[in-house]
Symmetry: C2
Subunit: 152 residues, 2 copies
């Protein structure tokens, strides 16, 4: 990849953005994967670990430890599934919901800082272009390829 070229820039900036965001999340003692899980559970309450792991592309064996941690901190709850005793039914707790709000705040701050060099109009154009590229590449919205390796 040549420097100054969009491919490299994209990858470079993406890694930078992810790193900066991860740093901000550390204030909340959360990893990016933690945040992704909490966010997904808001809209997909009750899903199983299996389903969670396949949606976010996190290895099931890794998910065990992550959920253990989130449950210990009472941000997530593993409820039994009455229909299938093998499955857990995962839910956000009250605390989990509240921390999710903080995550949202952090994300907005992060984004504003990151894109301060662009006008509002440019941000919209950038978002639209990036979304188009992401769709063309078959990326699922909200699923970060790095979740596979951003557990801690």
């Amino acid at each position: 990849m040549e420097r100054g070229q969009p491919g490299f820039l994209l990858s470079q900036l993406g890694a930078h953005a992810a790193g900066r965001f991860a740093e901000r999340l550390k204030d909340l003692e959360l990893s990016p994967a933690d945040a992704g899980i909490l966010r997904l559970l808001r809209t997909a309450a009750g899903i199983s670990q299996q389903e969670l792991s396949s949606r976010l592309q996190i290895h099931p064996s890794r998910l065990v430890a992550i959920l253990d941690n989130l449950e210990r901190r009472q941000l997530v709850e593993r409820k039994p599934n009455p229909d299938d005793r093998r499955l857990y039914s995962l839910h956000l707790t009250k605390d989990g919901g509240e921390i999710l709000q903080q995550i949202g705040r952090v994300a907005r701050e992060h984004q504003d800082a990151l894109l301060s060099a662009l006008t509002g109009e440019e941000r919209a154009k950038l978002t639209e272009m990036l979304q188009r590229v992401a769709d063309a590449e078959g990326l699922t919205r909200g699923v970060h390829p790095g979740y596979q390796r951003m557990g801690k």
Copy 2:
């Protein structure tokens, strides 16, 4: 980070682009860090490992193994520095120069595939915006934050 928002998109697409590029590099049996090193050595022939590691933000102890490998494959040469016998003077070999050309080819293919959803005009606009953001964030051109953890 909310989905569909530029911050997340950037990070998501960046990771995707880096992953795809790394896959293509595998055909040449190179890691992204390998490619970064070869590329830098083209314009900065003769530098020491110390200097290389600080420019690319690669840990010195990790650099040893990477250079061992590149030297074994005769893509890079460690010459003694006559002025200071502690320092190596790193150089691309003939083979290294040739593989660098192949890397360039792979990078162009990668980039074309990645941005196929955008017109030429849009690509230029995207590049310009990304460069502006990268500059504002203080990123050094050609230095990927991920080199720190993309040795293999």
